[in-house]
Symmetry: C2
Subunit: 805 residues, 2 copies
Amino acid sequence: MVDTTGSGYTDDELDLDLRWWAAANYLTVAQIYLQANTLLRDPLRADDVKPRLLGHWGTSPGLSAIYTVLNRHIRRTGADWLYVTGPGHGGPALVAATYLEGTYSEVYPHVGQDAAGIERLCRQFSTPGGIPSHVSVQTPGSIHEGGELGYALAHAGGAAFDRPDLVVACVIGDGEAETGPLSASWKLPAFLNPRRDGAVLPILHLNGAKIAGPTVLGRSSDADVEAYLSGQGWTPMFVEGDDPRQVFRDLAAAVDSAHDTITGLQEAARSADGGGHGRWPAIVLRTPKGWTGPHTVDGVLVEGTHRAHQVPLSGVRDNPEHLTLLEEWLRSYRPDTLFDVEGALVPELAALAPVGDKRLGSTPYANGGRLRRPLHVPALERYALDVAAPGTTFHETTRVFGELMRDIYAAGTRSDGGGDFRLFCPDETASNRLGAVFEVTDRCWQLPVTDFDDGLGPDGRVMEVLSEHLCQGWLEGYLLAGGHGVFASYEAFAMVSVSMLIQHAKWLQHAVTLPWREPVSSLNVLLTSTCWRNDHNGFSHQGPGMIDAAIPLAPDVVRIWLPPDSNTLLSIADHCLRSVDHVNLIVVDKQPHLQYLTLDEAAAHCAAGASVWHWAGNEPDAGEPPDIVLAAAGDVPTQEILAAAELLRAWVPYLRVRVVNVVDLMALLPPGDHPHGFTDASFVDLFTVDTDVVFAFHGYSRAVHELLHGRPDPGRFHVRGFSEQGTTTTPFDMVVLNRMSRYHLVIEALRRSRRVPERGDELVAYCRAQLDRHREHVVEYLEDMPEVRDWTVGSTPPPPPPPSA
Amino acid sequence: MVDTTGSGYTDDELDLDLRWWAAANYLTVAQIYLQANTLLRDPLRADDVKPRLLGHWGTSPGLSAIYTVLNRHIRRTGADWLYVTGPGHGGPALVAATYLEGTYSEVYPHVGQDAAGIERLCRQFSTPGGIPSHVSVQTPGSIHEGGELGYALAHAGGAAFDRPDLVVACVIGDGEAETGPLSASWKLPAFLNPRRDGAVLPILHLNGAKIAGPTVLGRSSDADVEAYLSGQGWTPMFVEGDDPRQVFRDLAAAVDSAHDTITGLQEAARSADGGGHGRWPAIVLRTPKGWTGPHTVDGVLVEGTHRAHQVPLSGVRDNPEHLTLLEEWLRSYRPDTLFDVEGALVPELAALAPVGDKRLGSTPYANGGRLRRPLHVPALERYALDVAAPGTTFHETTRVFGELMRDIYAAGTRSDGGGDFRLFCPDETASNRLGAVFEVTDRCWQLPVTDFDDGLGPDGRVMEVLSEHLCQGWLEGYLLAGGHGVFASYEAFAMVSVSMLIQHAKWLQHAVTLPWREPVSSLNVLLTSTCWRNDHNGFSHQGPGMIDAAIPLAPDVVRIWLPPDSNTLLSIADHCLRSVDHVNLIVVDKQPHLQYLTLDEAAAHCAAGASVWHWAGNEPDAGEPPDIVLAAAGDVPTQEILAAAELLRAWVPYLRVRVVNVVDLMALLPPGDHPHGFTDASFVDLFTVDTDVVFAFHGYSRAVHELLHGRPDPGRFHVRGFSEQGTTTTPFDMVVLNRMSRYHLVIEALRRSRRVPERGDELVAYCRAQLDRHREHVVEYLEDMPEVRDWTVGSTPPPPPPPSA
């Protein structure tokens, strides 16, 4: 336990701060309830109350109390704080606080610092055409929505990385503390470097209840909570009570003490070398849910229980008793003493807010685009693979991305060891062939290091933790505070945190509509170790569903890239790293794959989004439409479609075959449905108007059909893709199990071709024989274990020459 | 710390158990490496080694040691244990153990207890046509795959609920312990009832490394780990070392002690009333990664580091030195002393396994279909809503499901307070209008209860925790151990645990192919508080993406149901609760919605999957095709499509309008692609062959297009659905924002209709005027706050009569 009695709060200062808090609470209640008479200049009438009451009171007074005490600390120290509101449904509290400090009116001038502004503030809350009920992207000072719970502490950690002057106050509701992602986030001290990073001060706000019941930590003893946090590297201070004067004093002392401890840790680490194994402070704040609100309603206890969660007084327009209670509640804050005759906050209270960018609502750390500097991406030539001829060499495709990131790391390292780019990866950086980054930095690790560790150290800035939630959440916080980064994941397990990606896309979708929000770097997700090549790990590791989850999200935000080889990956990576306000999924495998394009060709191909690969097809007559189009998106599909084209060229050379490669998946959408959507003319140039298309796709086949609606005759597209067949097996067996092998594609192409080619039947028979041979081979493999090298690189023996004509 | 010196292990017994462990380790290495000479009767040759080495050695010896010690405990006590293998990649260890105990050969007779069987065992591992490398559904004794990490302890908890005689040994790898879901799972003691439930013994197996680096708990001090676990209700015992004799003695003592503590807690709780606030035991086992394997390879330390994770010796066929090391390693286990001349385990070792269903591989708790009893679902009539005429009354649709579950709970309660049905819900049971269950049981809660709590108590069996991961994981474990249940979630936040649902679907997909796995109850997920009616919570709460994630999964497993009202929900719920081996998504909102069908009509409608609602359409000429088909799937879409039909009937009564309602979404798939897929004839009966269809859909519109590929002229379907537009607003504004309102649907229908009706232009003008009026209304709402009751129930004023003809 830490002594929290030494805040040095004078009675006068405390009186003023309690009045500021009362103003925040007043405006919170007013937002939830009032549509008129919002300063209560007249007796409250039923008509003053909104017809529909939406909002969450329970957590709000605690959030405002923390805000008030942080303001005091900023006033006294000039420190840079960022406020992350885990209980995001306490939106009206944060809106009220940022309004009182003036930020709100600066970014939303139509909500001025007067009676009309307050009425507007109240009316717009949770109202059609107004603002959401949560601490959302529309709230100044926020990098965190808090609707889907669990990510507050991960976001806070991400925002603190490489921001040495920042302290993030992260309020964690005790409901949120039951979630998995939040539970994992307490491991932050193992990853937060006191020399180069900022600090995070978790404020575990235990008001004891969630929507409908108590919470585990809320009902746990102080001793248990202390053990729980201390075992994870924190030293918690407990602040508890329902007497505002006492709680404010204790909380202020705890904040002061925490900040002193943080400063001490950081100074030690920054002056000497090393350091940094001290424990970080944390605050456990136990205050009643719905503090200062109605204590009992209709004879039932409300304050301090889950019944205070949303609207403690309901039916106010029809229930005179409740109307009276509401008026008493509102007047308990003495609004007449808080706002002047014009409706402006009285000067002595207005003076309590920090100034300028020190205000929590104005800090640039919460509007990271203000801090963001364009990333220096080195020229790609130095990483480009030499591709003499398409499809003749193998390379582990992702390696070049690791080399590119290595040099981004190196070029961007600051003198204090920080920077503004990080790679986040759940323990798979090396596995994903991105290990080049370890030539210039280590895995970040604040716990003990042994002499047999590789690439591990306190100053490392590659973030590896076996939690997709933490990787994703840290990156989101890092980006929203102005950094750049990449999250690299096994494709299947990116789904672990897909809901976070969805929420981030929603955030960006609305952020771009707010002129005051500066653009932030895109969320770049590399999905590798893909379904087709997780043959060594088996079915649990085989799942391309992230594509399906991302397609329906905001078209202004989401891009999905399927580079077929290393040079296209470089081009895509370069584009994504320079982009802002997007979510980029880059899907490409790490294993040795055939390489096709030179860097120049790759750049042109990626800029186009999709191209006809003339060298792979067979269209001798320029004016004639092809008999069949073979299309592919993704590395393994490209390999198989090219092998299919090769078989067709060899066996039925008079068949007009076009090969199309698609890199930019969303370009398949109609132009009205996505900014990248091909124009009708471009689409027809690629796919014709009526030729059948056999399409080999990286993901689930129907995802392509989903995109193609609205295109000419979408029924002519015949897509093969991952059909949820998998196990521990060979790469070639994977394409056979999912019926996307070259042989399946040839059979489908011949079935769909505009012309029935001579000797087509023979080729079909050949393909069927090859598939039969494979099935026998599988059995044979189990029985006799032949050499399988060719199979492991995803190649089959070249097709035999066609029978002599 | 607990004294672990009192195991009472005699030297003889220990010698035998160490030999049994050696046999397990031998077979583990042999599975990874050998294709011939698998008993090492001859000197090891390069050709004996598999051409492709796949598997994970590092965790395996620890897993086998635990297995051996548990066997000893079972021999001595006859206790029922279930072994949950968090580090699922230690598959060969569990396969080896279940082979040695005889279970494996019983369920797979082709892998016999002789030399040929051992060769088969080795060859099949991680081989095409063989078995996966993980502890997967194919592994006897497993309810947990462990490929996607994080769910071991949740699965263990679920398996223990309502199984009072069971102890679940849950091995948690230290990598897994970094994940969010696992971190949340430690809160189990707040939810595990010693009177009626079984016990879970977590064995945190800290071998210190994951794939490529150390782990947080692996590098944390014992004191920190103890604080971390004790703060969450556990009393950990530490077992550490690399001397097998010592570790076995200590581990055996810890297991004995833990079991004694568990028995004591349970007896106290079961004899007296109440009890049960004691702490549960846990074991922290620190052994080297790759224990007993190669200590150093090529001069580099392997044992005890991340380098032992997979295959510690590589290139064995080409590297004679590695080949020698492999042979020495294999022979270190003395296979000649373990297996007799026929290749059978020597009798004194074979005698160490428990017998029959006491064997960990044979326990019925891991093959829950053996324990499952059909659920008693009461007759639906008592819950049915009285629907006098379609679309005339409102009801909170999900309420009837709560009433049904209430009576399922009541009917199934055992004398000890347990049962075999549970509802799992993240703190939303009441919010989701399922609160009727609290008439017969409480929320489960083992922490202190206060006098102001509602429906909360230690004997409650409604599982509320603010973690979708825990709800989902507990339910999965509960089902796989033979129970029945429902997971009810806010629709948007079901995505938090979607990857678990995907993994469970994969499990079921393969389970049904194994004759020895008895069918288990389906995973029933109720998605409510849907995107259309989370108008009060805002954009973060609005997301129907679960449908998109589920569609591509195994068609034999996944069903998606969109009941439009209460009686259809009852019919669907009844079907789902009786079904086995499926994943059922039931998507329906909780708010007051219009009700349409009687129970009999609902039963017929659900059995059909989709029906023409003749009463809502306008097809006077039986033989004539309709001019337009209006289709809907989902409650709000149904309401809007019916309102659109009503407008068309009123304004353009000579237009032939058909109304189709779809309940069984997967029936839209072609019959070859899903067992529920409508035949072509049925599809045409509903949708004709060429009439345009305006389809109002609950989810993202392109999900319907995805399903329709393969149907006649899919381009004629014009789908309106959720288009990722949302905020805190009114229900009607939501359908307008997403362009799925009745007015949008009418405009689309008139645009697509086969005939251009007279007065169609007037109706379009009317609809546009209504939408303009709405937009004005939104502004007006913000300015003047009119009464919005009609809007909150999702209804608009009835359409005015058409202009006189």
